[in-house]
Subunit: 245 residues, 2 copies
Amino acid sequence: MSHIIRKLEHFVHLSPADRAILTRVSSERVHNFAPRMDIAREGEKPKDVHLILTGWACRYKQLEDGRRQIVSFFLPGDICDLNVFILHEMDHSIGTITAVSIADLSRDFFDEISSGYPRIATAFWWESLVNSAIQREWTMSLGQRTASERMAHLLCELFFRLRLAGLTRNDACDFPLTQADLAEATGLSKVHVNRTLQELRSADLIILKGKSLAIPSLERLMNTGLFNANYLHMDREGRQLDSNE
Amino acid sequence: MSHIIRKLEHFVHLSPADRAILTRVSSERVHNFAPRMDIAREGEKPKDVHLILTGWACRYKQLEDGRRQIVSFFLPGDICDLNVFILHEMDHSIGTITAVSIADLSRDFFDEISSGYPRIATAFWWESLVNSAIQREWTMSLGQRTASERMAHLLCELFFRLRLAGLTRNDACDFPLTQADLAEATGLSKVHVNRTLQELRSADLIILKGKSLAIPSLERLMNTGLFNANYLHMDREGRQLDSNE
DNA sequence: CGATTTATTGAATCGACTCAATTGATGTGG
DNA sequence: CCACATCAATTGAGTCGATTCAATAAATCG
């Protein structure tokens, strides 16, 4: 089952027709990108809404002097920006971390959704509200959390989101981010990211090696990162809309 | 003219009917709050969508140990969260800075908008996309900008937003934030905010005294804060929808 | 396999923090 | 309208978390 369906089902139960149209758009207009490539660049006119099918990507901003900040990560099942139909210019860039395949979602698809698929329309809205909440939580992290709290928090967030999309096995998941990526996301230097990870490792909070992460006790890592999952709104909050099929 | 109308007109020209309905909802269901009070609290069920009529408010989050982060400011004409109809629980709190008066916007109003006032509906969408962009920019600030850059950037942002709502006179505006507020918003300590403001003052970048701010050269302050206004999307991006009345 | 990227370590430095005290505003009640 | 209380702003000194610079080790890739 596709990641988008799996994820949206955490908000509301979809009908077979709902699932069918999501499956359909996941196979049309598919594009592939190599690792470390830009999908869209700041200053450009936004062209399409993208659904991430496989791979990791990120949204980032850059200052004139080169300082870069990753402002969010995109995981399989995530939708990149519903701003296409409103805004004229990208205020950030979107780049791949790993190889990524995306499906472009057309205006027609959204029209179809909003006239005939109210559960999907609402679930998409939920998705974008959760993304806003994540962005606020990052503001909180960067403003108030210490280096190790920040790192623990980010790892918890990614793990929860991957689990929602069906991309974890028990306490483990693939983890393609380099320490440089983590530095750009947390606002720390690469060197300090390295030391912070060592700290988490030696407290047996994470096992991070190769491109794989394991979390022996999610509860302890959550405590370390002062992580409260409420902002992910995973609690089937749209259940009153459930399909009864 | 009300601040909300003034602001939305920067995106699209409204018709007399558009303006009338906005004026109507700005006078119904009005509530007043004293300074430093909560309008809504984390954990509660969201009750209404609020339109700020007058005064300044903020969205903030708090950790168990008391660390607080202001994640955004609300100025007159701003709308607090369209999440009411989707999410079940607030993941942050909303509190006033000054005395604030708000209008509660009903579900019926939004239904009315989406069926009969496409320009307003689109402008509201624009508003929420700009808010997301602002949140990303804060992530950038907290992650990459130095203390003085961060402060300069925040002051530029607030000045631009106030100007959009018609709340500036030449190079000056009311400025009710305390240094403690600025500290909670920038992730700096109060002491360092104080020193940072002195630095900006002695470079003649700002005149901040009492509850009033003046910016002798907005251009220089923007350079100091590495401020690029593109993320505010003020360039009449919805002009193709303009009312022709 | 060599080449390049990624991860690790050490040492010195610095930006921002904490603690603590003082000065200056603002506001309120008698 | 002053006296007192409270809140906001300022200053100094010492500290610490995180940075920079630089070098090396390990992993990954073509």
